[in-house]
Symmetry: C2
Subunit: 314 residues, 2 copies
Amino acid sequence: MTLEVQKILEGDQLSGARLISLLEKRDRRGIEMLQAIYPRTGQAFLVGITGPAGTGKSTLVSRMIGHLRGRGLRVGVVAVDPSSPFSRGALLGDRIRMQGHETDPGVFIRSLASRGETGGVSRAAREAALVMDAMGHEVVLTETLGVGQGDVAVARCAHTTAVVCIPGMGDEVQAMKAGLLEIADVFVVNKADREGAEELAHLLETDVVMSRPPQGEWRPPVVRTVALRNEGVDRLVDTLFEHRRHLESTGRLAQRMAGSEFHFFRQLVLEMAAEALLTDSAELARLRDDLGRRAIDPYAAAETFLKQRLLFKA
Amino acid sequence: MTLEVQKILEGDQLSGARLISLLEKRDRRGIEMLQAIYPRTGQAFLVGITGPAGTGKSTLVSRMIGHLRGRGLRVGVVAVDPSSPFSRGALLGDRIRMQGHETDPGVFIRSLASRGETGGVSRAAREAALVMDAMGHEVVLTETLGVGQGDVAVARCAHTTAVVCIPGMGDEVQAMKAGLLEIADVFVVNKADREGAEELAHLLETDVVMSRPPQGEWRPPVVRTVALRNEGVDRLVDTLFEHRRHLESTGRLAQRMAGSEFHFFRQLVLEMAAEALLTDSAELARLRDDLGRRAIDPYAAAETFLKQRLLFKA
């Protein structure tokens, strides 16, 4: 084991940050270090916090950090949301939301550039969480933007996912019903002191949660918070741990983790396949020309191309 | 050529809709039909309309349809946004936004289920646009939600992409600057009668547009609209065609189309590879178990797995 790997396992923040940067750049050494620390992962409680911009996720995460620290837990934060103050660095108004956590040695916050393909982001987020896990953080919070397709991928890495909504989002919630149900283990109605909070909570409790086919015994509870005033956040943290205990007691945690690791394995296979198959070549340049002139159709081209490169095994 | 293919090429809406449904289900017959019509595609002007929920994209699209129809053009619309009234069907309040286009034989609107992986959505959107193209629509508008990673993929199929913002989105625009620049050929400040419209337009015109490295001669113009009152929409349509002419006159249209077809080819190769490599098997089930127990690390597992299946050719 190299010294750098040792330092990561001891929780050294600089070494952890360096590894996450290497991984973001898809540096080969980063992958090797991740493989070295991998056996020490699988301990942290991985929590996803997702919801559209403007729902106050970052303030909520900041408050959650406070409560988790109060319980003596070390907390890692992966911010994927480009509009997050964690991502932008602590700007003027954001200092309030950071609550001084940036100087607490028990808190490790990293933001990820979210440009590029969705697959890349969800991979980088998962890898950052693995690093924080290996560093000894008992809880890793991953903050992601929106309730779109990409978030499903990020949610797949989490043990427990909280979806944050605010009053006035009723229409959006209705439209997103299916997507929400796919990922939410807990719903948060933040800014619950605003008008329309009860309607939204009611909508979530009835229409959304009740329409979910019972899986095990868990029905996503709806937690009301006012993150700015630190209200309801302790209960939210309790609820997340309740869900974790539920997963453990029903054996679904092991199932979820296996699913998550397998999903990641598939993602890696496809990434490596893309690299092996689609790295620039004279043949690909020719194909690009032919495709541009519409001299061949892309379906036939893809099929022929692949047939020459895959060992189809039964 | 089958009768069904013939009918699509003649613009029959029922046949077109049937094909799009087959393609959404990834039905083999759908792909074959798409291959049959493919030589007749490449004629339509493909326009992407993207922006967060609540920016009035659907109303804008509806108004654009009106203006395009007024110019005697047949219009196809692909709605990927799950919150779009086009997607939800014409609900009560949405009838206004539909403007009766649903009964105009020169307008063909299809919404796509946007659940599942981003790749699947962008593929389905592209294929639906191809069908509309082959049906003889001179313009195909694709409406997508948000300015996230998935939208970059959808934008890649369009010749011209308009990004819709509304007053009050300054922070979001700042945070998304890089992503916006990647996809916007035209910016739309919709609801331009609201307070803050000039600030937003100014922000886009200075900070965002001016920070863009000059590519050819085009700098994304900022068009102000009030879609609800049908203001500025004609100018928006003019601007889109201006961009189209710019692409044609500089040779960048051919370049963009080649890039887009090649991107699609890559996507197909990876999808087919995924199917060939990762279809359920006893070996994969064993791997899933091993991964779940963390008995192997996913990186090593993926590498080994792939090595046995790929013919690496130089």
